[in-house]
């Protein structure tokens, strides 16, 4: 088969099959990307997205199916290096940069390695790096060390590096997770710039609103099978969710009839911390879900960490049941039965090397002691199995390592760990970041159950729909202050979005 040089198709992956140890990860999945197209690949965790990316990148080979890239059919036994040489670049979530080297080196070094040079020409490295950064209109100090850069700049460095190797297709795996809104906009501008140069982008993301905003077409996979390819303009986020999950997730707003009179469960009186947030006051009643939203850097996470004692406030008061409390450490917080679900569950929420069960009971080891004062294995077993069942954690055994779980199930473990202390106030910081739609709905259900059990819940989220759909009231934070309080029944997503981004006032 001969292909025309001017063919508008850059990548065609046809009817790809791949099985791992009897599990069919991909069956009959196809993906077509045009030259200069911004294409998105979406699917829940375990839907086969990562397998497909690995096959395209040459890291693993397909069992069946063929890949035509840039007019050439890929031969069998092609490896990752071959894929890179043909013009496919993957920017993984960790960016794979060298933190202790300069920007210039990070951009230009891969070229040196790839061309098999033995010696370094610093002048030409600088020129290469400078030219690539200029091409994407990025301003980054060439002599700065990568470890001193913010994540957004690191991403630009990774993109520039991909371009030095003559990338025709750049695959970005969850690139926007750690970016603020303006930074995402800057990234989108760069991707658009690439498009104008004929470079295609495959965007893999859980943030469906971004997917729709950025891409031209969206390929959806579910359980390793193709669902379809859709023009982004014809889609809404809820349609996309339905395609991903195969069912329409009913979006019902949560309403609790809380009695907002008398003494609130928890109250902040002009809590401040220099440089983080100032003069924050609010009340939380039992059985209520209070939402806090704002951009990354608005002070919302800083505030949550202060309530939990990790980032103690400089001034202001905290009251539980009307009584002033001092919380200057996590021990204080746990003693006052305040639970906190951190934003980064991998770093802060889980003991990665331990089993699922051990992670669940780690906060209540004292309660597991038997008559001898030592930890009773019988008590431990029953407690673990009770929680695993209650939280519907999908696993064949609670003694498997916690890392064997999918993101959503890991999150359930973290939540379970905190529920074990029977908190009266529970703070959840972006609990559904990077989690697939079905698990997301389930976590929302857990959060609602907490409120139904007369707990006070603070739900912090970037996602407007998440706070609106689950909270009674929503506070909007900006530059360390609460700038707005809305009742979720009175607000629309658009309005709230306006408050958050500061366009409306």
């Amino acid at each position: 088969m001969t292909s025309t040089v001017a063919s508008s198709t850059l990548l065609e992956a046809r009817a790809i099959y791949k099985a791992y140890k009897g599990v069919q990860a991909l069956s009959d999945v196809s993906l077509t990307i045009n030259r200069g197209e911004i294409h998105s690949l979406v699917g829940e965790n375990g839907s086969g997205k990562s397998t497909l990316i690995k096959i395209i990148a040459g890291v693993i080979g397909p069992d069946r199916g063929e890949i035509v890239f840039d007019g050439r059919r890929r031969s069998e036994g092609l490896n990752a290096l071959g894929a890179i040489r043909s013009g496919i670049q993957v920017i993984y979530q960790d960016l794979s940069l060298l933190p202790n080297l300069t920007v210039a080196e990070n951009i230009a070094l891969s070229q040196v390695v790839e061309k098999g040079r033995r010696f370094i020409n610093w002048g030409s490295m600088h020129r290469v790096a400078e030219a690539e950064l200029r091409n994407i209109h990025a301003v980054v100090d060439l002599d700065a060390l990568v470890e001193d850069l913010p994540v957004s700049s690191r991403q630009l460095v990774a993109i520039a590096r991909a371009l030095t190797q003559g990338a025709k297709l750049i695959i970005m795996d969850e690139p926007t997770t750690a970016l603020t809104k303006p930074e995402v906009d800057a990234l989108v501008a760069v991707i658009n710039e690439l498009r104008s140069r004929g470079i295609s982008t495959l965007f893999v993301s859980h943030k469906l609103d971004e997917v729709l905003r950025i891409s031209e077409r969206v390929t959806v996979v579910r359980d390793g099978k193709p669902v379809g390819v859709f023009p982004a303009t014809d889609l809404t986020t809820s349609q996309l969710e339905a395609y991903m999950t195969g069912k329409t997730v009913a979006r019902k707003r949560f309403e609790t009839a809380t009695d907002q009179r008398g003494v609130p469960l928890f109250e902040l009186r002009s809590l401040s911390r220099e440089g983080h947030f100032s003069d924050v006051s609010f009340k939380v009643w039992r059985g209520e879900i209070l939402g806090i939203t704002g951009l990354l850097g608005s002070g919302r996470t800083e505030l949550a960490l202060s309530i939990f004692g990790m980032n103690p406030a400089d001034s202001g008061e905290m009251l539980l049941d009307g009584q002033p409390v001092t919380i200057r450490s996590t021990e204080d917080a746990v003693q006052n039965r305040i639970g906190y679900l951190p934003e980064d569950r991998v770093l802060q929420g889980l003991f990665q090397s331990k089993s699922i069960g051990e992670n669940v009971v780690v906060t209540i080891l004292n309660e597991l002691r038997g008559a001898t004062g030592l930890i009773s294995s019988r008590k431990t077993r029953t407690t673990i199995s009770r929680w695993v069942e209650q939280l519907k954690i999908k696993t064949s055994s609670s003694s498997l390592p916690v890392t064997s779980l999918s993101g959503g199930n890991q999150q359930k473990v973290v939540i379970g760990k905190w529920l074990a202390i029977r908190p009266q106030l529970f703070i959840l910081d972006n609990p559904t970041v990077g989690i697939d739609v079905a698990s997301k709905a389930y976590i929302h259900e857990i959060v609602r159950d907490l409120a139904r059990a007369e707990m006070g819940v603070i739900l912090i989220s970037d996602e407007i729909s998440e706070v609106l759909g689950n909270c009674n009231r929503v506070l909007v934070m900006k530059e360390g202050r609460i700038v707005r309080e809305v009742r979720s029944s009175d607000a629309t997503e658009e309005e709230l979005y306006g408050f958050v981004s500061g366009k409306a006032n």
Binding site: L98, N100, Q348
Partner: protein, 347 residues
């Protein structure tokens, strides 16, 4: 306009210098030298300078090896065992052959060093072992094999091949004091300087050198970039062995005596000096200039404690303190950086 632009460039330069670790090390070094000079006016003389550089040349060469290993994200504590094996092997062979040839001494010593270093590198890269444990193990193995295979008998200066004694007295520059007695700059010093220049060239201008820093920064990223991580590790540890071989010969000439029971056990001194020079003990960061200053400060402290009226046993405590302080500073900086980014690790 021109002058304001020039001023801006120069103020940027000043800011760059102020940010450098080496600047503060240098200030400390100068201040400490001035202090010692206050106690003993013979300290800051050319003769003393020549003397100190001669006795510390071997130490300084090993510091280069330690710097390279630290940059690669590893650590090596077997270099003294390698140096002793190399020097003892070289001396024994020269005596057995009845030859007196300095180039041959260097060739044999460096050859043994290179081979033993390669053993370290192969073990570490083939089995992905932790470097500290591996080299702690090979230190004992190398030293044990040396004592059993080549023996433990000391060789006195009267039995040493002539070339070592000549090398001991060799000067590249000879001056005379006011009273006419000559003193000079030992041939050890340009050799040490040569290893510094060589290391600098390798680190800065070769793919191997950049790869060494790359694996010290993030080994997984380096691998994805296409660096051959096992090869780099073998090269790094072989290079340390090679430098230990050079140091071995210089050490024989310096003390005019060989015994396979010396040196091993004071590895921490060299590591401390390099860490003092700003090398990050967890890898990826460190400079040659910093190492020069670290070694200089370490040597001056060592030679001057007695001058300052302190027991030389302070030296031991001091070495440990430098290591702990070096680690603490790195950990503290990471913690501050993390706290700024609101990352808290509960450990």
């Amino acid at each position: 306009m021109v002058s304001s632009a020039a001023r801006r460039t120069s103020s940027r330069l000043v800011r760059r210098i102020l940010r450098r670790n080496e600047f503060y090390l240098f200030l400390f070094f100068v201040g400490f030298c001035a202090l010692v000079q206050g106690f003993s006016s013979t300290f800051l003389t050319l003769e003393n300078l020549f003397d100190v550089t001669r006795t510390s040349a071997g130490f300084a060469i090993l510091a280069m090896g330690v710097l390279v290993v630290l940059l690669s994200g590893g650590i090596d504590v077997s270099f003294f065992a390698i140096a002793v094996s190399a020097q003892y092997g070289a001396v024994k062979l020269l005596i057995a052959l009845g030859v007196s040839s300095l180039p041959m001494a260097f060739a044999v010593s460096c050859g043994i060093g290179l081979a033993l270093g390669a053993v370290n590198g192969l073990l570490i890269s083939a089995f992905r072992l932790p470097t500290l444990i591996t080299t702690l193990g090979t230190q004992t193995v190398f030293h044990g094999l040396l004592l059993t295979v080549l023996g433990s008998r000391a060789i006195n200066s009267s039995d040493l091949p002539r070339c070592f004694l000549d090398f001991s007295k060799a000067n590249v520059l000879t001056l005379s004091k006011p009273d006419g007695t000559p003193f000079g700059l030992s041939a050890f010093v340009p050799i040490a300087a040569g290893t510094y220049v060589l290391t600098w060239l390798l680190l800065r201008f070769t793919k191997l050198g950049r790869g060494t820093l790359a694996i010290g920064g993030n080994v997984e990223s380096a691998r994805r970039l296409g660096f051959n991580v096992p090869l780099i590790q073998v090269c790094v540890y072989s290079y340390v062995g090679f430098l230990a071989g050079i140091m071995g010969v210089i050490n024989v000439a310096l003390i005019r005596y060989v015994t396979p029971t010396t040196l091993v056990g004071s590895e921490l001194d060299v590591i401390a000096a390099v860490v003092l020079g700003g090398a990050r003990i967890t890898g990826g960061k460190g400079t040659i200039l910093g190492t020069v200053l670290g070694v200089a400060i370490f040597e001056v402290l060592q030679t001057s404690l007695v001058l300052l009226g302190l027991s030389s046993f302070w030296q031991r405590a001091f070495v440990g303190l430098i290591i702990i302080a070096g680690m603490s500073i790195t950990a503290y900086q990471t913690k501050v950086r993390n706290a700024r980014n609101l990352i808290f690790r509960l450990e």
